[in-house]
Amino acid sequence: MNRYHLFQKSIQSHLMLIYSIWAVILVILGTGALVQVIAQIGGNYGGFIWTHDPTRNSPFYVSFDLWRSLPPVPNELRFLDEIVTIDGRSPWEFDQVYAAKRPDDLVTYLVRRGHQELLIREHVRVFTLDKFIVSYGILYLTGLSYILGGWVLLHATRRKDLKIFSFAFLVGGGAWLSHSGIWGVHTPYYEKAVFNLLLYTPAMPMTGAILLHFACHYPIPKRRMLSWPFVPWIFYVLAVITIAGYTLTRDHTFAAWNRFFLVTMFVYVMMGMVVFIMINMGIYLTTKSSGNVSQQRILEPMLVASIVGIIIFVFLGMLPVLLFKYPLVPFEIWITLIMLFPPIMVYALRNSELIEQIHREASLREQYAVQVEELRNIRERTLHEVADALHDQVVPELRGLHFAAVALRRRMRGEATPALSKELAFISDTLDTVSKDVRAIMEGAKPVDWTQTSLSQALLWLGNGLSQRNRRVQVRLDVDRYDNVDGPLVKEALYWIARAALNNVQDHARATEVQLTLKSDDDHVVLEIVDDGVGFDVEAYMTSPASDRRHLGLTNMHLRAIEIGGRITITSRPGAGVQITVVVPRKET
């Protein structure tokens, strides 16, 4: 990895950090909106009383201020007139929804409902298009920034939990836009400005639903909770119904439905956030217990940001709403920023160094793996060549000489002196032994074609080879002939482990008996090599410096076992023999 890539990665990691802070802020902002929506559903939901004054050349309506306690956005809807009381009672005491397009209609409506007195106060604030754009622009920008953040996160990482995080962003962005869209319908300009209808009304809830669809269909294995395929369709249908219904009838029931599905979407987003935090917490605790410092430090800022965000949400977002029915939204943002920036900056700096270090290590590991693979290939090739050379050139010569010596011995029988007979016997026997030894070496060196050879077969060779080479060791084989072990890699690894273990028995153990067992069932393959030799202190061996160790090939055995997803246990005490057990889980057939 060159310096440019490193820089790019570092930038990416910092972007992720910045976005994680942003995420918290946006979640708080979103929470403000969520709280508002919840407050409306559970609280004093009254609805608009719409009207229109034909004497003025501008659109306006009369309303009691439903969202007087819910800043900041609804308060930006400035009304020309406001109903102060109806029959001497505050409009807040009414829980019906009234809607009318002209004052006459409204009065008729209220009279029909049996009301006598209507006190109307003139408002001075005029809601104009530029104010509308400014106030709603904030909403749309928030939604868009969610989406942007989601995309950046999605492409900056391969980690699944971060991807979920980014989906939460995408969905949240959609929800925000949807939210803004349905509010856009409320504006006094909806009849005048065609683009309002085109852009804000149908486009935004649909955008939300489409984004949600994307988020839900993005493959996140084993994270089904967030990827139920039917969820987006529900939102599509709801979006279409509420938009169509509201546009055609101006019935606030549709707006209420829209709010309901917004709440659902927000809950969905929150679920994503909670999953993200829980996963990270889990990873953090695991890495903490395993002592993986670098990963731990990378996770820390994310966790700090998430936890501080939650605390702020609870104490500055929820509590004021519960106590005073007034969320401190702008205040929360500043508090969050002030609290988060110093630790985040420190972590960002540490993070960049760590990322550099991790990438350096990763590239070294990669190089190492390539070299190991290359060496392994060379070793296999060399062994093959040695085995071939022994087979074709050495063994036939030795056997031929042995036969010639046997023939000579037979011919001299009765003629030779006892001393000569003894010499001839010595020559022919030695040639026999040497050729058998060479054959045994060749057998061990020859790479096995694992697609053609069963493991049990290879183990039988190994066992027989050892008992032929070393008459003092009795080899007991308990090998399942129909071992049914598939996969050349598994066979090869188990074969080499058994080979290394038997070599140790021959060279170091001074054993009289060795038991080689291969058992397999539907779930596991178990290889066991037990000898009654001198044994060794496993713990002392493993902790001793590499240069002091006798070459027992234990590291290789471990590596071979890990390579095939298996587990190796080596049990031994001085004087008590060695027991080596390898358990390999069988892959689902």
Partner: protein, 212 residues
């Protein structure tokens, strides 16, 4: 009784000479000659008509071959058995693998001897094949049987239960395995026995003598 006439084929002159010295001492055998590669072996054997040909499995087919290999040995055995069906062939090799035993026997070899066999063992094997017998170790016999019977132990157990008319679920319960695994075994059985249904598999297995 006429002596057993022998031709030996190997690319090692030393081995052939050693073999010659030993076999010439056997009174019931007659050394006919030797060959160094496959094509030469076929020519000489057809011309001399020996009773037994001793062939090294790792052989060159002719002088143009770069290095000795088992495939050329099998080819020699097959060609020789095709040209002169009366000749008994005894293969000899340093390292017998299952596939080469199976291939050599299928090609027409009557025996597969390890190279470290003693002169007595070789002479015994020659007499055995000359009389129309075979010279195979018990291990080689198992290999040959396995190559004919492709079923694993588990598949055989499943087959036995299948023949009793058991369903996949019942088989699974009896063998203590998952139903899906049992179904997979049955599927493998059908594939291996080239049967279209489980019943056809049972009938086919009976026909091949895999179950009584």
């Amino acid at each position: 009784m006429s002596p057993i006439r022998i031709l030996a084929v190997d690319d090692s002159e030393t081995f052939l000479r050693g073999m010659e010295s030993v076999l010439r001492q056997e009174v019931d055998m007659q050394w006919m000659g030797k060959a160094y590669h496959g094509a030469q072996a076929v020519d000489r054997a057809c011309a001399m008509q020996p009773d037994v040909v001793l062939i090294d499995l790792r052989l060159c087919w002719d002088e143009r071959s770069r290095r000795p290999n088992e495939a050329d040995g099998v080819k020699t055995i097959r060609t020789l058995a095709g040209h002169c069906p009366n000749i008994h062939i005894l293969a000899i090799s340093g390292l017998w693998e299952q596939r080469w035993v199976v291939q050599a026997v299928n090609a027409g070899a009557k025996g597969c001897l390890p190279k470290e066999s003693t002169p007595e063992q070789i002479a015994t094997a020659i007499r055995l094949v000359a009389q129309g017998g075979v010279a195979l170790t018990p291990e080689q016999l198992v290999w040959l049987r396995d190559s004919v019977d492709p079923l694993t132990r588990r598949e055989k157990e499943v087959l036995a239960l299948l023949a009793e008319g058991k369903s996949d679920a019942e088989i699974a319960r009896q063998l203590g395995i998952a139903t899906r695994t049992a179904s997979k075994h049955v599927e493998n059985l059908r594939d291996k026995l080239e049967a279209r249904s489980r019943w056809e598999a049972v009938i086919e297995a009976r026909r091949r003598g895999l179950i009584s």
